[in-house]
């Protein structure tokens, strides 16, 4: 079985641009969560989606948005990129009340 897949693996963007990150969960997992991890810190919660509905939002500005599709895959969008948005963006999928399986992440660099 394929694990959680994220694309792209690496991305370089310029300040002010927007970016779309993609995530495919493990088959059968209806919950997808997004995290931002800055080097040397723990993952910071951005969004959780379950059955296409937003179930939670972390302390991130409105420039960050996400959605979940009928096949449970998900996209994270970030507008008006800032240098501080440079980070590893992690997607995780899970069954209800179980541990999370993380993808390998998208390394975003904003220059």
């Amino acid at each position: 079985d394929a694990g959680v897949t994220q694309s792209p693996t690496h991305l370089i963007k310029t300040r002010g641009q927007h970016v779309t990150l993609r995530c495919s969960p493990i088959s059968g997992h209806k919950s997808v969560s997004w995290y931002q991890q800055v080097l040397g810190q723990g993952p910071q919660f951005i969004f959780q989606y379950y059955e296409k509905e937003e179930r939670g939002r972390g302390n991130f500005p409105d420039r960050f948005s996400a959605r979940q599709f009928p096949n449970y895959s998900s996209e994270l969008n970030v507008n008006a990129l800032l240098l501080g948005d440079s980070a590893l963006y992690l997607c995780a999928s899970s069954l209800e009340l179980h541990g999370y399986t993380f993808g390998s992440g998208t390394r975003l660099t904003v220059v």
């Binding site: 969560s33 995290y35 810190q41 723990g42 993952p43 910071q44 919660f45 959780q48 179930r55 939670g56 972390g58 302390n59 992690l90 995780a92 209800e96 009340l97 179980h98 541990g99 999370y100 399986t101 993380f102 993808g103 390998s104 992440g105």
Partner: protein, 113 residues
Amino acid sequence: GQQVMQIPQYQHVQEGEDFTTYCNSSTTLSNIQWYKQRPGGHPVFLIQLVKSGEVKKQKRLTFQFGEAKKNSSLHITATQTTDVGTYFCAAQRWQTGANNLFFGTGTRLTVIP
């Protein structure tokens, strides 16, 4: 959001020594999960604790959940170089329509051969 603090932030041990990391919350938690992240990797789920006072073991790893469900610990016996990485606790407060998982600050373990 909720805050989950971990101590210590860093730990260097000689191979064969024991290691413990502690996780503390000011609020009652529904569960605790533990993850390991190798350098350059992504978090990997180790275990989930749900019951008050619960203790679980995985080979050399022992996990505990406090009686008040506000703290947890991970203990590694006789560390090996393969134990190197950052250990995170993560917690949820189960509510109707939301069970977001919040990560602690992590403890970075270095094992000196």
